[in-house]
Amino acid sequence: MIPLSWYLILAAALFSVGLFGVLARKNAIAILLGVELMLNAVNINLVAFWRYGSLASIAGQVFAIIVFAVAAAEVAVGLGLVISVYRRRNTVVADELDLMKW
């Protein structure tokens, strides 16, 4: 039997890796990949808590479904923005997109 803790630790690790990816990668699309990792970690947590908590309350899975929807929307818009920015500035390196500096 797999204790809950295994799932939670896995999710935490995945989350941290995703966080590192968001903070450390140059390419804007890579940043978004990191975000996807984080979202998946969250999903694992949610479903695990559902399974190891009260099975009757299906809220955990519903939350996970919603997270899917939100993740899809976010990726669509985010990638659309990246493409738009690429068209204008011909770069997707995050550090070069610093128009909002002082």
Binding site: L19, V22, L23, A24, R25, I31, A94, D95, L97, D98, L99, M100, K101, W102
Partner: protein, 720 residues
């Protein structure tokens, strides 16, 4: 239909015509004049029915036709307005109906209905003629139709409404309403050709001058209302009320009745153009001739005399039969003075309408003088006969002017004045109907014996003056009658007799039937009306026809006035002055061909005794100075605007001071600039700015780090 209802309805057709023409038929000349003349015909028919019913009543004065309604609630009672026709009212209604109808009909022809539109005619200016080409290819200029044709009929319709309202009223308020409506229409009609500056000025002059009279009249009405609590004639003219008014003393030794009568009389001085408010009537000749006939001969000026006739019981409330009261003396004086005064001016006038204007003023003076000495019947009689023959004379003069304009258009010489009598002459051959009717009217005016109505009425005034011993009035009126006959004959001689003095007069011709038919009808009245008032004791003729007028109209007063005793002296005087004046006029003027030969062209008479100039100096110029210089420049622009501008300037000065001494140096320079910016904010800003790199990953790093730290703190200090 009951007579009372009919009386209510009589004033309505003309005002309906006014509204219909103004709102709907303004474009169609034929429709407008049909509506207007139709309305006049309806009112005429109603008036005739009422008149004949009135005449058929026995002792009509004791139970006149009356009907009133409660109109204004005044506390416990009601202020009533209504209509009433007593004998005086019936007689006046008769002549008003006839003259109004004749003038309406005349206007159709006068404004050249059926003629082509003029070449350069514009609304606001008199029509100037149209060029037509006949079948042979000749061009001539003919009279053109008046551009503002419908408007004229609308205005005279409104005017007729005002006059009818005045006549049928049973109270002073609606009478005053009719009075004012006529004043307004007088303004509108004198200024009918508003494109002419002289017409505009004359309209304003007429309105202002009559207004002066109207203010005093209103004061009189107010005084009367306060003293008696009613304005209805039948309630005022009762023994008790008149007695009370006669015995209350007011200022200048006048009784209340006298004071009220004088105030109301001042309204008449304005409306009937007596001295000193006579100046507007001659200028009013700027209006079209039907206007002059209607307003200034037959109806409006007669309204003034009618008002005094109505108020006669009030005027004579404290008259005991021996010696005139103050009020009556004032009235008699003004009447007699005006009669002589304007007759002297009339002999020196060359414009055919001006002579008639001054003649009107003079004849009104006769009537007023008659009222002043207490000759009620004589004054009423003369009012009615005068209305007929003066309307006749004015319409005749219009016909003459029309004929002369034909001549002017024929010769093309527009510099000659078609109204100047010295440019006329010999018109009896060219315009026979006009000539004969004008002759009848002129003779009536002069008092030609027996066959003209003017003789009977004028003679009665003189007889009354003589019989009661009012010598001054008698002599003044006799002299004025002489001058009247004189200038009338002068007018007839210069205009119609002799040979044409100008080419234009040679080419004059008779006017259409719409203009000559009224002349003929009015001349019938100018002859015949006198015969209803032949005094009983007149030699030979007296007693053959009953003195219907005296019997009928005399019934209006509480006490039936007694007939004047017959005496040969006034009769002789009247024959002498009439025939003498006519004869002298003919003798002198049959050989006069130009103004240079006319010895009566004395400057002071030609210039109307310089009254216009005097009023201009005394009243008009000071009024202009008061408004333009004193009120406008000094008070308004200087004083009031000065105060306002000084507020503005003070506020601006304070603002500038604050800006220059406080805002600039202290706030802007010191606090904003040095204190805040240079010393504190700018250094701090420069430091903080460095954190904003624009790189989102750095932002994220920073925020997650902070989140982590905060999370730890929260965990250890709050949760664990």
């Amino acid at each position: 239909m009951t007579t009372e209802l009919l009386i209510w309805l009589i004033p309505l057709p003309p005002v309906l015509a006014f509204f219909l023409i103004v709102l709907f038929t303004n474009r169609s000349k034929a429709l407008s004049h049909t509506i207007a003349v139709g309305a006049a015909l309806l009112s005429w028919a109603g008036s005739m029915v009422v008149f004949f019913r009135a005449v058929g009543e026995e002792h009509f004065g004791e139970h006149p036709f009356a009907s009133s309604v409660n109109w204004l609630p005044t506390g416990d009672t009601w202020f009533k307005i209504g209509v009433s026709i007593d004998p005086l009212g019936a007689a006046v209604l008769f002549f008003v109906a006839w003259t109004v109808l004749m003038i309406f009909l005349y206007s159709v022809g006068y404004h050249n209905f059926g003629q082509p539109k003029g070449d350069h005619d514009r609304a606001g200016l008199p029509p100037h003629g149209a060029t037509v080409t006949d079948e042979h290819g000749h061009k001539h200029t003919v009279l053109s139709v008046e551009p503002m044709y419908s408007r004229f009929f609308a205005f005279i319709g409104l005017f007729a409404f005002g006059m009818y309202t005045l006549v049928v009223s049973d109270n002073l308020l609606t009478m005053f309403v009719g009075w004012e409506i006529m004043g307004l229409c007088s303004y509108l009609l004198i200024g009918f050709w508003y494109g002419k500056p002289s017409a505009r000025a004359a309209a304003i002059k007429a309105f202002m001058t009559t207004r002066i009279g109207d203010v005093f009249m209103l004061l009189g009405i107010a005084f009367l209302y306060k003293a008696t609590g009613t304005l209805t004639f039948s309630e005022i003219f009762t023994e008790e009320t008149l007695g009370v008014l006669a015995n209350t003393k007011t200022f200048f030794g006048l009784s209340a009745a006298g004071a009220i009568a004088i105030l109301l009389f001042i309204g008449t001085i304005g409306k009937s153009a007596q001295w000193p408010l006579h100046v507007w009537l001659p200028d009013a000749m700027e209006g079209p001739t039907p206007v002059s006939a209607m307003i200034h001969a037959a109806t409006m000026v007669s309204a003034g005399v009618y008002a005094v006739l109505r108020m006669f019981p009030l005027l004579t409330a404290d008259f005991t039969g021996h010696g005139l009261t103050t009020a009556m003396s004032v009235v008699a004086f003004i009447g007699a003075f005006t009669a002589l005064f304007s007759a002297t001016i009339a002999v020196a006038q060359n414009d055919i309408k001006r002579v008639l204007a001054y003649s009107t003023i003079s004849q009104l003076g006769f009537m007023i003088a008659a009222l002043g000495i207490g000759a009620y019947i004589a004054a009423a009689f003369h009012l009615i006969t005068h209305a007929f023959f003066k309307a006749l004379l004015f319409l005749g003069s219009g016909s003459v002017i029309h004929g002369m304009e034909h001549g002017v258009l024929h010769t093309g010489n527009h510099h000659i004045d078609p109204q100047d009598m010295f440019n006329m002459g010999g018109l009896r051959k060219k315009m026979p109907i006009t000539f004969w009717t004008f002759l009848i009217g002129g003779f009536a005016l002069s008092g030609f014996p027996i066959i003209t109505a003017g003789f009977w009425s004028k003679d009665e005034i003189l007889a009354d003056a003589f019989a009661h011993g009012h010598w001054a009035v008698f002599i003044t009126l006799a002299v004025a009658a002489f001058l009247t006959a004189f200038y009338t004959m002068r007018q007839i001689t210069l205009t119609f007799l002799g040979e044409p003095r100008t080419k234009e007069a040679e080419h004059a011709h008779e006017t259409p039937w719409t203009m000559t038919a009224p002349l003929v009808i009015l001349s019938i009245f100018a002859i015949g009306y006198g015969w209803v008032g032949i005094p009983e004791h007149f030699p030979v003729l007296g007693g053959i026809l009953p003195n219907w007028f005296h019997e009928f109209v005399g019934g209006t007063l509480l006490e039936h006035p007694e007939a004047v005793e017959f005496s040969w002296i006034p009769l002789g005087t009247s024959l002498l002055v009439a025939l003498g004046g006519l004869g002298l006029g003919w003798l002198v003027y049959r050989n006069v061909k130009s103004p240079a030969e006319d010895r009566l062209q004395i400057p002071v008479l030609k210039n109307k005794w310089y009254f216009d100039e005097a009023y201009d100096f005394l009243f008009v110029k000071p009024a202009y100075w008061l408004s333009e210089t004193f009120t406008y420049l000094w008070m308004d622009k200087g004083f009031i605007d000065g105060i306002l501008h000084s507020f503005g300037k003070a506020a601006a000065w304070v603002g500038d001071a604050i800006r220059n001494y406080f805002d600039g140096p202290v706030i802007n320079d010191f606090i904003a600039d040095k204190l805040s910016h240079q010393w504190t904010i700018h250094p701090a800003a420069r430091a903080v700015r460095k954190a904003q790199t624009g790189r989102i990953q750095q932002y994220m790093l920073a925020s997650i780090g902070v989140l982590f730290v905060v999370g730890v703190l929260v965990y250890y200090f709050l949760l664990a």
